[in-house]
Homo-oligomer: 74 residues x 2
């Protein structure tokens, strides 16, 4: 599984855990909703800037988000 | 300080701690040396794929690298 696909899976899981829609997350992170959909489907490679922007409304630290990805990677 | 500049500072510090040149890190991470120089000068926004590629030869987890950035951010 590619890094982008893992990232998308983790992003969707955390977003759904927080009971946020893509629309709400887009608004809170000041990103475009379609971009969030593309990220969740593993179609884009997010920068660390995007990761940091997403983590604020998701209420976790970027290092914690990466920790979730590492569980799937290593 | 922008996220890219913080990233570059942290990257340079860790690379120098490991006594690696930009050339050696480029070879080991399969990235271009000029790109590493641009990253270290805060001129590029790395993707998480690039972060993960850099962390292998630097001998730390991406979440640990992000933890270093968080120290400067928050």
């Amino acid at each position: 599984m590619s890094i982008e696909v893992i990232f998308g899976k983790v992003l969707r899981n955390i977003r759904e855990d927080k009971k946020l829609s893509q629309e709400q997350l887009a608004h809170l992170s000041e990103l475009d909703r379609t971009y969030i959909s593309l990220l969740e489907r593993g179609k884009r490679r997010p920068t660390i800037n995007t990761l940091i922007a997403l983590c604020k409304p998701l209420g976790l630290k970027p290092s914690e988000f990466l920790g979730e990805i590492e569980k799937e990677l290593y």
